[in-house]
Symmetry: C2
């Protein structure tokens, strides 16, 4: 790599407010949480950054999965029973445990964003919000590796405690 890049420090812009108090029992993906309402409460200083956000129906929410236990580079993911390289999984325990959720925006109220589709534990720090733009974000894929035939399980199964601290 020609010398490792320097560590990066981020200051969370807010927190998730949801009805999930532990990772165990939390939906595995936001597509499987379409009936789950919650809030993203930003630090009020960031409120001006929310201007125009209410024009969008969907948002990317980037979070710090603070309860994840990073470390293992091969993990047995929730939807499988075999060890997989962690970067080939959507498990929370990546070396940098950054959560990527797509939620439906319901309303913006001051520094609070009301959303639907939260697959996140209450108190999860929020790092960033970006508008979801299908022309940029949707893809047709040729191959989805070991997920093939397994994605429907996210509607039946929830997280357990395997990646928790």
């Amino acid at each position: 790599m020609g010398g490792s890049p320097q560590p990066v420090t981020y200051h969370p812009i807010g927190v998730v407010r949801s009805s999930f108090t532990t990772p165990a029992g939390t939906p595995l993906q936001s597509v499987a949480a379409s009936d789950v309402h919650g809030r993203i409460e930003l630090d009020p200083r960031y409120e001006p950054g929310l201007r125009d956000l209410d024009g969008f129906s969907h948002l990317h929410v980037l979070t710090h999965l603070h309860l994840a236990r990073p470390g293992e580079l091969e993990v047995v993911p929730f939807l499988d029973d075999r060890l997989r390289g962690v970067f080939a999984t959507r498990s929370p325990g990546h070396p940098n445990p950054i959560g990527l959720s797509v939620v439906r925006l319901l309303a913006v109220e001051g520094p609070v964003v009301h959303v639907e589709g939260l697959d996140l534990v209450d108190g999860t720090p929020v790092l960033d919000l970006k508008p979801f733009v299908p022309d940029f974000d949707n893809r047709e894929t040729d191959r989805i590796g070991w997920f093939s035939g397994k994605t429907g399980q996210v509607f039946e199964r929830c997280a357990d405690d395997r990646f928790e601290t």
Copy 2:
């Protein structure tokens, strides 16, 4: 918020190798860089985490946009001529400048991932890789706010120096 969350420190897992040496001239989105080949070079210690990744045709690449200049909460985005709340834009200069790219995987060779669709400057630190899974990641939206009618411009325009350090 009931007390701000603590700062978060991440250690990049690798760097982007691309032909773009400055943000000015770099594609605005990975969809507009489908002919741009590049590499993600991981620190060799993370190589075991890449197992099984070659089964996927597309990846999310989360990066630290190290040349971005965070700070302003209202910005004039590349594709518009009006001030917008920064969280309603895909501009690089978000308070936590995390890049979200979707690239096509060409090959995995040891700790190196060869990809197509890189909208990133050479040397950009990489924070995470996740497989792209359409059932989890694609969305149909009702509204795309101020991007309406403007997304096609990413195929004609490149970044300029407005969000650079």
